[in-house]
């Protein structure tokens, strides 16, 4: 359950974070305009926002969002996707992704931009074929940090009252029942899955990293 939540929240963070980062990296105006907002929002811990997001989103879940009211009293995955929780996951993941992407766009080598210009490439083509591939290693780095943050946030969020599923819930529940064996096992699982996420993204990003580090 935690996994599905994290993947959903993280995907949303990536879908919004990468374009925002690209925009902020490429345009001075966008950077000036958005950086204050990002810098103010970034240090706000996602956990700190959980009560607020519950106020905003109530206990609404995805099944309600899609108008599937009849699912509400059945056992269904969508019932467990609380909007508030997804929101804080998004919040936790989006900033490292934005910052990584900005860093990537800004570290494009000047010579490659000049080469593209001389070779007659327009802005769009330069962006697609030069800036994005150069930025890819940093984008992956941002994604890696982002998913780590998401994973930390979800565990904490699931430990708060109002949840009745997820591995964070399991840790708290087993603690209350004094089943420390289950609790410890859960912690190990959390660590293991966190590492798996990180490694998975790393191997995805490997190719782009290798290309950049080997460039002479």
């Amino acid at each position: 359950m935690s996994l599905v939540r994290v993947i959903l929240g993280f995907s949303l963070a990536a879908i919004f974070g990468i374009p925002i980062g690209l925009l902020m990296g490429a345009s001075v105006h966008a950077r000036k305009f958005l950086s204050l907002m990002v810098e103010m929002a970034r240090p706000l811990s996602a956990i700190a926002l959980l009560p607020l997001s519950i106020i905003i989103f109530k206990a609404r879940t995805f099944s309600q969002l899609f108008g599937l009211e009849y699912l509400r009293y059945q056992k269904n995955l969508l019932n467990e996707m609380q909007l508030g929780m997804i929101f804080i996951l998004f919040w936790g993941g989006v900033f490292p992704i934005i910052l990584g992407t900005i860093q990537g766009v800004r570290s494009v080598r000047k010579m490659h931009l000049e080469a593209a210009r001389i070779l007659g490439a327009g802005k769009l083509s330069t962006f697609r074929h030069v800036i994005i591939p150069s930025a890819l290693p940093d984008i992956f780095h941002g994604l890696k940090l982002g998913i780590g943050r998401c994973w930390m946030v979800i565990i904490a969020a699931e430990m708060l009252p109002g949840t009745n599923s997820g591995i964070g819930y399991l840790i708290r529940y087993s603690y209350q029942l004094s089943r420390y064996d289950i609790m410890l096992a859960s912690i190990v699982v959390v660590a293991f899955i966190g590492a798996l996420f990180s490694k998975g993204l790393e191997s995805l990003g490997e190719r782009s990293l290798v290309l950049r580090s080997k460039e002479r």
Binding site: M111, E114, L211
Partner: protein, 259 residues
């Protein structure tokens, strides 16, 4: 002096009173000029000068990568009124590392919106001509430095430039590789009528390649001498006339740029 008509036909590049000063936090650096010169179509002109004499600045300004403080660069448009195409070979490392050699060469043709089949044909024949066919699907980092520069040269030539600017393209290579590439370049240019402006601090390279040499003095870069190299082609580095010429030019160069 050329008549007006003839000038339109033959002039490939006209540089008038070009100068450039960089303003940095540490103060102003007067890097170049004013410099004026002309080039005819098909000419191979070599700028020779010590490090820091503004050679690269000159080339970058002509290419439009820098804005000059004073002066103008005139590159006549093609006969059909099309924009002139300028090629630029950087010192090193300008290939896109995330693209295969084939994709690198294809990039400028894509930008010119050439259809896929003819792109493919052009890239393949260029790779063949440069002896790079077997590296088409390799990535730049898998190639030696010499091969990388060869590919960079191929990428500039595949655009069929009216003016090819080369900024010490072989200076990062060892002597043997560098000489090999110089020979290749000569052979290639014999076939095409590309106008080449080549910049180097290596006198031998200049004498081997160029039809004409312009010597630039120390900062700010100014033209101190322009002369035609009257050696018959093909030139040989070991021939007596070549070494004699080299020695005499080396002497004048020393006296010209020593102060």
């Amino acid at each position: 002096m050329f008549s007006e008509v003839k000038k339109d036909d033959m002039t490939a590049l006209k540089v008038i009173n070009l100068s450039k000063t960089y303003r940095e936090s540490t103060g102003e650096v007067h890097a170049l000029g004013p410099v004026s010169f002309e080039m005819e179509t098909g000419e191979f002109l070599c700028f020779l000068g010590p490090t820091g004499c503004g050679k690269t600045t000159l080339l970058r300004t002509i290419a439009g990568l820098e804005k000059p403080d004073t002066g103008k660069v005139i590159i006549p448009s093609r006969s059909g009124g099309e924009e002139p195409v300028i090629g630029y070979v950087f010192q090193q490392g300008a290939l896109f590392p995330w693209m295969s050699i084939f994709a690198n060469l294809e990039f400028p043709l894509k930008a010119k919106k050439i259809v896929k089949d003819s792109r493919r044909e052009k890239v393949e024949s260029m790779l063949e001509m440069m002896g790079l066919s077997s590296f088409a699907s390799s990535y730049p980092h898998q190639l030696s430095g010499g091969m990388q520069q060869r590919a960079a040269l191929a990428r500039s030539l595949v655009m069929e430039p009216d003016l090819l600017l080369m900024d010490e393209p072989f200076s990062s290579l060892d002597t043997r590789t560098s000489q090999k590439l110089q020979e290749n370049l000569r052979d290639l240019l014999k076939k095409a009528s590309t106008t080449v402006l080549f910049v180097t601090h290596n006198i031998e390279e200049a004498v081997y390649l160029a039809g004409e040499i312009i010597v630039l003095g120390h900062r700010p870069g100014r033209i101190v001498r322009r002369e035609t190299i009257d050696l018959s082609d093909p030139r040989s580095r070991v021939s007596e006339s070549f070494t004699e010429y080299l020695v005499s030019l080396r002497k004048t160069f020393e006296s010209l740029v020593s102060d």
